[in-house]
Symmetry: C2
Subunit: 382 residues, 2 copies
């Protein structure tokens, strides 16, 4: 069965892995569209390798570099945010959204409205606009295939099962680099320390989210919109080894878990080959080398972002969108050194408390909320 | 959806759990037939509670006690081996075979020939006559629902998956009570020590099989016949906590595991309610209380039965039947004190080496092999 593919964010961590996966899968999987933010050199290189119909470079300043390489290659070059949304709307079998942060939300919506199934790595899409996206999904009969390792795990555990029989989703989290650090020294955490994740090699934004554990909070919200599970039935458990990627408990007490080496290629490939598991050449899991799996409760005092996320999910409406955008820009401020690590949850909480809440936001309202929240964070004086 | 049920071995460990499960499931599950070996009092008590159409007491000496209690109850009382096979052949939706040892093989075959789906706890059925049973299963279009916790785990992990995508079955085993005992003292092991299993409360025969790890060997053979997996693709891993009941590795390196408290009610109920997971009132798994899961390779020197089982499976034909019957009667001789713990694998190996091998045995040949092997073990002088 051959499949056509779009990869958004092709020069990022997920995108590069996705290209490796598609190359290894062979001719039956054809990438037709690529997008990148500003890495012109890498995007052009990928385009020459893969020969898509079109690419989009979002940052207009980088456009010339892509165009000059591809000018005689019969590969269209689109640019800007408009180009990205146009690429997202092109009909393919599956669009992988590997964009970072809230910028990924609208492309997800556009892809679904165009009838594309979406392999979703950009969890912020569902955190910001879960309800809108699910309505669009129903309307166009499309599906979302989770690419987050936790949600891919749950999705795999749900294979052949009925959602009515699910009593609990159990999201595992490594606990990040500061699981055991003295909480009194959290305000001294430097960006470099937070960027050093013990198990996963990922982009910067998600690595900081792992350090604050906001990532796990966003995943709770994502799980709610993906699987329709109530907030109270979504649990977090700390599992420092990152071998069990998540679990599902059924009403008879049976628990299913998905395990594997911490390599994003597995959930990426599964989203492309679903419902099949295609052969792969990456390292397989050796439980004799990973011979101790441990579990701990999450520490809500140490990581207040977790409860902020639950609260936003329970509140509904625009609350999760504000949480997400506030977190994202707080992370950027932490990375540029203008706020401390412990300011991140403070800013998020403050934004959530201050915003003009809407219960049933449409896309315009969500985009307005995004601007307001960004402004709020940029101007925040810690 | 209402289901009619037969329970063979209703007064044993599996049978009693099964009756508790059916009672809790409520009116949609109706037990129509029961059988027991010799526990007349318990069988009569169960019959009065459950009101099946008929019961069978296999031991003729105990028949009078069952008949006297049930004489005015319009519940038929059958007796003897013939009665057991007649009960097995009565048409129901699912027959639970909770018999112990090779005595369970023929009832499984009869049930399948009669068109009954079988919830199989009696692994010896498949070890002795896997090929015959699978042929009968195909002929009558029936299914076997595994009740062994390991095979139920694998079955659950395979839900919604394709066998073509399976690269490995991974059977977990606790390692039994002698995992860390000095191997030089194995010949001094007394039956009482071997009957003291660390995690599971089971019948005597299977508890000794766990101590020698022949149980894991028999499970490898059972897994082969249940799932069609080659011996080389079935692995054993020691997991002392018995929380992960078994795992499946897929070709993309994704591993699915089923976890739960060590309670046979879970696989029993799932075999009755499949493909659904009905609510239950037993304790659910708390990974914060079972916060460390560990893994080790099996020790083939300490537990030679494992490799004897693999060898019998690879040889095929009557080899596994001899292995199974020799082991069973060696266990009885160990329990009655006439041989030592380390004689068990010696007798099994000797029987496997000495028997008159047939490559495609029919039922008569298997039953002859059973008699020959029993005789061989009874007369064996260690």
């Amino acid at each position: 069965m051959s499949k056509t593919i779009t990869i958004l964010g092709s020069t990022g961590s997920i995108g590069k892995n996705a290209i490796d996966v598609v190359e290894a899968l062979g001719n039956e999987y054809q990438v037709e569209y690529l997008s990148a933010y500003s890495n012109a050199e890498k995007l052009a290189e990928q385009a020459l390798l893969i020969r898509p119909k079109a690419v989009c470079i979002v940052n207009e300043d980088s456009a010339i570099d892509v165009k000059s390489v591809l000018q005689n290659e019969s590969i269209d070059v689109l640019t800007g945010r408009a180009g990205l949304l146009e690429i997202a709307s092109q009909e393919v079998d599956v669009l992988l959204n590997g964009l970072v942060g809230s910028a990924g939300m609208e492309p997800t919506l556009k892809a679904i409205e165009a009838g594309n199934d979406v392999a979703l790595s950009n969890k912020e899409s569902l955190v910001m606009a879960g309800q809108l996206i699910n309505i669009a999904k129903t309307k166009t009969g499309t599906e979302i295939f989770p690419v987050d390792s936790e949600h891919s795990a749950i999705w795999q555990c749900l294979s052949g099962e009925s959602m009515e029989d699910v009593s609990k989703l159990i999201l595992t989290g490594s606990g990040g680099p500061f699981r055991e650090r003295d909480v009194n020294s959290f305000s001294d955490i430097a960006p470099d320390e937070a960027l050093n994740h013990p198990n996963w090699d990922m982009g910067k934004k998600i690595t900081i989210d792992s350090a604050t554990m906001m990532n796990k909070g966003l995943e709770v919200i994502e799980a709610h919109w993906l699987f329709g599970t109530k907030p109270d039935d979504i649990e977090i458990i700390i599992h420092p080894q990152s071998i069990i990627h998540s679990m599902v408990e059924f009403s008879d007490g049976s628990v299913k878990a998905q395990l594997g080496v911490p390599d994003m290629k597995i959930p990426i490939q599964y989203a492309f080959t679903y419902p099949r598991h295609n052969p792969s050449d990456w390292e397989s899991l050796d439980l004799l080398k990973n011979s101790e799996l441990t579990f701990q409760p999450p520490d809500n005092t140490r990581f207040p972002c977790i409860q902020l996320a639950y609260a936003a999910l329970r509140k509904g409406g625009t609350a999760s969108a504000v949480l997400n955008v506030a977190n994202e820009h707080a992370v950027y401020r932490f990375l540029d050194g203008s706020i401390s690590f412990t300011d991140i949850p403070k800013i998020v909480e403050s934004a959530c408390d201050s915003h003009d809440f809407h219960n049933n936001p449409n896309l315009d309202i969500i985009l307005q909320i995004e601007s307001w929240t960004k402004e709020f964070v940029v101007n925040f004086r810690p």
